[in-house]
């Protein structure tokens, strides 16, 4: 429960003149649900991109499960158990749900057993949709398919980029319930730009503002932190 899973040291990323991330340090333990919040454009997605190999950081290092993984390719990271979703849902829209999941399993190092597969599909309520073209699913179903495609790989860490983005409020509640169950047996990293999801799920919260880490702590502490209130929550965004 207390092994360091993700270990980020002074990670920085610039886009031309824009500093998107300024020397971020962050540690996530196995089993701990970490939430990252920050307004739009504060660098959250860039942070995930730098960790999962979708972008090369300008400096800093990333350790995962005791290995140095800085700037490794996404497929190598998937194979050591580090996976992610995208802010704009990303599935193989022209293929069926079953094909989508089959693709997720094809290079999985530790794919789920058939029993677990069936359990996951039921739990995510997509089992009845297997032969449907994924692109014709509702956004909510697509988000759950996306999750299924990660979970069949049994990753050590799942980084979710705004997992409730675009969902209706009842769908948001359902997704939060799913993630609350999921956190019992998976380690999750969630990005959100509002406190709502984070408050209910995260054990620890990191606040990002204009590429800098503004605060870090338990959700209650963060909500009470005067700096966070002044500079972020004060904006009425929570």
């Amino acid at each position: 429960m207390s092994d360091v899973l993700l270990d980020v040291r002074s990670l920085s990323k610039r886009f031309g003149g824009v500093v998107a991330l300024r020397s971020i340090d962050l540690t996530q333990y196995s089993g701990e649900t970490l939430g990252m919040i920050g307004p739009n454009g504060s660098g959250k997605t860039t942070f995930v991109n730098c960790i999962t190999g979708h972008l090369k950081p300008n400096s800093g290092s990333v350790g995962f499960s005791g290995r140095a993984i800085t700037a490794r390719k996404p497929f190598e990271l998937a194979r050591v158990g580090l996976t992610r979703t995208y802010q704009a849902v990303r599935i193989f829209g022209e293929l069926t749900v079953a094909e989508n999941i089959a693709i997720a399993m094809v290079d999985a190092v530790d794919p789920v057993s058939p029993e677990r597969y069936a359990e996951l599909a039921d739990w995510l309520r997509i089992a009845h949709r297997f032969q449907t073209q994924a692109g014709s699913l509702s956004l909510d179903e697509q988000r759950r398919l996306e999750l299924m495609m990660r979970l069949v790989q049994q990753p050590k860490l799942i980084m979710l980029d705004e997992p409730v983005g675009g969902l209706s409020s009842s769908e948001v509640r359902a997704m939060i319930a799913l993630l609350a169950e999921l956190k019992a047996h998976s380690t999750i990293f969630i990005i959100e730009h509002t406190m709502k999801v984070i408050r209910e799920l995260a054990d620890k919260v990191v606040v990002l503002l204009a590429g800098e880490k503004l605060a870090e702590g338990a959700p209650a502490e963060i909500l009470a932190d005067q700096r966070v209130i002044d500079r972020y929550l004060g904006g009425g965004d929570a």
């Binding site: 704009a88 599935i91 293929l95 693709i103 290079d107 999985a108």
Partner: protein, 337 residues
């Protein structure tokens, strides 16, 4: 419904009736036509194009890349074979060597696909095809330039003597059947699934653990094998090759057979080749009418039936908001959403 999806248990090819029927027909048709050497030859050429179209289908239909240098690769193999046999090699040894040369070339020339997608890759492959054609014209000591090489001898057979017309057609028929069988096996294999993932969204494929670089190059290696075998068989069969035999128009013709028949289906491109490949031979004196006809078909396919014959005139459902093509200035292959 909650079991593993059925695709996880690929059926063997042991009793695949359509394939068996195709093989029988492919051998039978030239045999029946052998009374009329010209028609038997047209059948042989059609079978050769079926082989090519199947290889193009692997790349275009199943991997989502439109390689307009396909004919150039066939040409590389053909020139290898002609030159090697002219210095005394057996055709049966030159064929695998020429094919391997085409595959190695195809793999190297496929490297741009790692950085470029959609139109930009296709344009790049068009440039490569043009360079190959210029190369065929320029290195006249090997290729005899624009004049071309004529009177290419037929392969000899082990017992002595030359491969007869019908014997040659049967060799081509068997190669076409093997080509289709290999594609079927690929499509049902994990490799085929990886290629489908790459075709739909290679960034997502990579995130899911697929080594996109390796898989794309493997696809190019195998797709170029088809080009190479076809090129090696083509040269002695028709007896004459020139840079025009392997130029961009030929690549487009093979592409059209795939698109017209139905990319991403096994039999669509086979039918496409059956319908289109004989046309220029049957038109004979009105040979150039073929270009106009093919051009009209290219436009018809693009506008009326993007799924080809296999899916009829249904317009394809527009893609979900996933893989938008990127304007040049944002063309960064590593860009994540």
């Amino acid at each position: 419904m909650t079991a593993m999806p059925a695709e996880n248990t690929p059926r063997g090819l042991a009793v695949h009736w359509p394939l068996a029927a195709f093989t029988v027909a492919a051998v039978l048709v030239p045999t029946l036509l052998s009374g009329n050497r010209y028609l038997a030859f047209v059948a042989g050429m059609t079978l050769l194009h079926i082989l090519w179209a199947t290889g193009m289908n692997l790349l275009y239909g199943y991997t989502g890349l439109m390689p307009l240098m396909f004919a150039g690769l066939a040409g590389i193999s053909a020139y290898f074979v002609v030159n090697l046999t002219s210095i005394g090699w057996s055709f049966w040894l030159a064929l695998p060597v020429g094919t391997l040369a085409a595959s190695v070339a195809g793999t190297i020339l496929g490297l741009p696909s790692l950085r470029l997608k959609g139109f930009y890759f296709t344009l790049c492959s068009l440039v490569i095809q043009t360079v190959i054609t210029l190369g065929f014209v320029y290195f006249a000591s090997i290729t005899n330039g624009d004049t071309g090489i004529s009177q290419i001898p037929r392969p000899s057979i082990p017992g002595g003597g030359e491969l007869t017309g019908l014997g040659y057609e049967i060799v081509i028929a068997v190669m076409a059947a093997i080509g289709i069988a290999v594609l079927m096996l690929i499509v049902r294999s994990p490799f085929g699934r990886r290629l489908a993932a790459i075709r739909e969204d290679d960034g997502l494929a990579e995130t899911l653990g697929i080594n996109v670089t390796y898989q794309k190059l493997a696809a190019f290696f195998i797709g170029s094998l088809y080009a190479g075998v076809g090129g090696a068989l083509y040269a002695p069969y028709i007896g004459f090759i020139s840079p025009r035999s392997f130029d961009v128009l030929i690549s487009m013709n093979i592409w059209l057979m795939v698109a017209f028949g139905g990319r991403g289906t096994i039999w669509g491109p086979v039918f496409g080749a059956m319908l289109l490949a004989p046309i220029p031979f049957l038109l004979q004196d009105y040979y150039t009418v073929k270009d106009i006809l093919y051009g009209v078909l290219i436009i018809a396919v693009t506008i009326l039936m993007p799924g080809g014959l296999a899916s009829g005139f249904r317009r394809k459902v527009p893609k979900a908001a996933v893989a938008q093509d990127i304007p040049a200035r944002r063309l960064d292959p590593r860009r994540a959403a």
